[in-house]
């Protein structure tokens, strides 16, 4: 139901230039205690597209990602400055619970809850009260698992613990869990870092399907992955946003020499 509704408004087939931004960050500075991790980052995330964040380890990709759904609020020593908007609304004007319901997150390491597969996916809808009875919960769980491409594998073992799945399945379970809340944006922090090429390929396929409905920001260490799945790429270096543009342009024709060095593997 929601799928048809959103896909009719989907910008997925439009070019990045003519797509409005879902999330826009302006002048974002992040500090961990006295140490500054992000410097004046400006970034727009186009709706129904995949935006990839690349950059060497420790450059602040995760930090930026976690700013968007205010996960950094949880970190005691972390301070975020700047203006981040979701659909033109300041995310700090939103209630944090509402924000995280609208901006879902998939973590670098699969982190299924110590509950059954079913309960893992049902967790979000339950805490937000999205379903009023068991049937509705089931419906959400099944469609979410289906969208995450996991349903076929787990249909008969929904009452087994989520942790009994393989790493790749767990990651897709976490994606299904995020989708079940029906967010507008999905943040993915290196979702394939622990996966084999086959599982990676499946998740990449999945990301491409998901962007019809959602807006996706993905952190990745793999240039190929960024090139394959994203339409827009941002390169961060030492906490600064060095360059952002259409993925093709970034990979074929980087303007900054640091970007060039990084994508050609000369440093990182």
């Amino acid at each position: 139901m929601l799928q048809t509704q959103t896909s009719s408004l989907s910008y997925a087939h439009q070019t990045v230039e003519e797509t409005p931004s879902k999330v826009s960050a302006r002048g974002v500075n992040v500090f961990y205690g006295a140490k500054q991790a992000l410097f004046d980052v400006d970034l727009d995330v186009p709706v129904n597209h995949v935006t990839a964040l690349i950059g060497p380890s420790g450059c602040g990709k995760s930090t930026f990602l976690r700013c968007i759904n205010r996960m950094n609020d949880v970190v005691e020593i972390c301070r975020v400055e700047g203006d981040i908007r979701l659909d033109e609304g300041d995310i700090y004007d939103l209630d944090v619970v509402e924000l995280r319901a609208r901006v879902g997150m998939v973590f670098q390491k699969p982190n299924p809850f110590p509950k059954t597969i079913f309960d893992n996916v049902a967790y979000g809808p339950r805490i937000h009260g999205l379903a009023s009875n068991r049937d509705e919960v089931e419906e959400i769980v099944f469609t979410s698992l289906e969208k995450a491409g996991l349903l076929k594998e787990v249909r008969d073992r929904l009452s087994e613990p989520g942790t009994s799945l393989s790493g790749g399945q767990q990651q897709r379970l976490c994606i299904a869990r995020a989708i079940a809340v029906n967010p507008e944006v999905i943040l993915m922090d290196e979702p394939c870092s622990a996966l084999d090429p086959i599982a990676t390929a499946r998740i990449e396929e999945l990301i491409d399907e998901l962007r019809q409905i959602y807006t996706i920001v993905i952190v990745t260490h793999s240039m190929q992955q960024a090139a394959r799945v994203s339409q827009r790429t941002a390169f961060l270096h030492l906490g600064e946003l060095v360059e952002v543009g259409n993925t093709e342009d970034i990979f074929t024709n980087p303007r900054d020499e640091r970007t060039q060095g990084y994508i050609t593997g000369r440093f990182g």
Partner: protein, 435 residues
């Protein structure tokens, strides 16, 4: 990276070095294993010795010597008016009846001293047993009833072989004449040993043969219930608040330091606190398990809080982030994701605290739970004592028969502990599903 290459030793050197060290490394490992096994062995040996002595000393207290006698329930003595009025019946001289029956059995006894020795063969509780029997069935008045009464503790000790006839007469508690009478009773088949029910159903008594552990066991039970009801929810909530909700600032630091210090405060200090606050200020009843429970709950609280916080910190942050990332509120995250994982650890902490509280004596002395209490406590407000205090009281008594009761009470205390731990293990199993 590249500039460190020259310092890497050649392959064959490395292999040789590793090989040379192998024997030493395995020897160290074997030594460590031996130490470990030895340590466990010593611990088990000590445990076996402890259990061996306690059970060896205590198990005979579970049996008791009884004397069967035929008592004429003389109507003239206990019911002179003949109307079976319970009030009159209850005031009758049953002791006199018992004594008369004893004299009947041994008509040769004449002298006062001999009579006293004769009367000492049966417990002073015999008169009460007889009275209860007559009160329950007044038609017995006027008849000769066969009753089985408790033998006195000295007879019991003699029968159990703790008093030897070979020792000089003035060095034992049973005289030669008494021994002769016991033997003659034994020949008549009037002496029997049986299960000591009274030990498990009775309260404390000055007479060892009448003393039971039930009063103290019930006291311990009420006290532990009070501790559980107060300390566990409070400790868990305090741990959750401090770990999950409280801001990390100077105040919470001070609170944390104080909780850690409280855990190390000698228990008697909590007893003094209970005396000053609960008894003197709030005027709560002395010797009440509720007050004992309050005092022990205060003592246990820091342990539960510390263990609870440790259990909470042990929950992987990825679980918290997963829940928060889906938009769970803090409370939903704690209740739905963190607490189920932390529960086994919290239960362990609670059980450690409770086990310590169960064995605690000193603070309870301060609030009067050391009193000599015969009646069984029917609720947390009745005067009571607890198992360790009872053990202490009996260990302090001079009678030989209390020695075995002391050990028997220790067995009961240990059984209590084991049951509590078993409960905890089962609870943990329930929560600790492997994921």
């Amino acid at each position: 990276m590249t500039d460190s290459t020259p310092t890497i030793p050649s392959r064959s050197d490395t292999t040789q070095t590793v090989r040379n060290g192998l024997r030493r490394r395995y020897a160290a490992e074997r030594r460590f294993k031996i130490y470990g096994v030895a340590a466990i062995g010593v611990a088990l040996l000590m445990l076996a010795i402890m259990f061996g002595t306690i059970i060896g000393n205590g198990w005979s207290a579970f049996r008791q010597t009884y004397v069967q006698m035929d008592v004429l329930v003389d109507a003239a003595e206990i019911d002179p008016d003949g109307n079976r009025d319970p009030k009159v019946l209850s005031r009758g001289d049953y002791e006199g009846l018992i004594k008369a029956a004893l004299r009947e059995m041994f008509p040769d006894v004449k002298k006062r001293k001999e009579k006293r020795e004769l009367y000492d063969l049966v417990s002073s509780g015999a008169a009460f047993d007889l009275r209860d029997e007559v009160m329950a069935d007044p038609s017995l008045v006027g008849q000769t009833v066969s009753v089985t009464v408790h033998a006195s503790d000295d007879v019991d000790m003699y029968m159990k072989g703790y008093i030897s006839a070979e020792v000089a007469e003035d060095e034992r508690r049973v005289s030669d004449k008494q021994i002769a009478r016991i033997e003659s009773l034994r020949e008549q088949g009037r002496i029997s040993t049986g299960f000591n029910l009274r030990f498990f159903t009775g309260g404390d008594s000055r007479e060892p043969e009448l003393a039971g552990i039930a009063g103290a066991a019930l006291g311990s039970l009420w006290t532990m219930l009070a501790v559980l009801v107060m300390a566990f929810p409070m400790g868990v909530m305090a741990a959750i608040y401090l770990e999950e909700f409280a801001p990390k600032n100077r105040w919470t630091d001070i609170i944390e330091v104080n909780i850690n210090n409280l855990a190390a405060v000698p228990s008697i200090v909590f007893g003094l606190l209970g005396l000053a606050v609960f008894l003197n200020f709030f005027g709560m009843p002395r010797s009440a398990p509720l007050v004992g429970g309050l005092v022990l709950a205060l003592m246990t609280l820091p342990t539960i809080i510390i263990a609870g916080r440790a259990a909470l910190t042990a929950v992987p942050p990825s679980i918290r982030e997963g829940a928060l990332g889906l938009g769970a509120s803090r409370m939903q995250m704690v209740a739905g994701n963190v607490l189920p994982l932390a529960m086994p650890g919290m239960l362990t902490g609670a059980i450690i605290g409770m086990a310590r509280a169960l064995g605690e004596t000193a603070p309870l002395l301060m609030i009067g739970m050391v009193a000599f209490i015969v009646d069984l406590p029917k609720g947390p407000l009745d005067a009571a004592t607890v198992l360790p205090v009872q053990i202490f009281l009996w260990a302090d008594s001079p009678e030989r028969a209390f020695v075995e009761r002391t050990s028997a009470a220790t067995i009961v205390l240990l059984v209590f502990l084991i049951l509590m731990n078993l409960g905890a293990v089962l609870l943990r199993k329930k929560f600790e599903r492997r994921w």
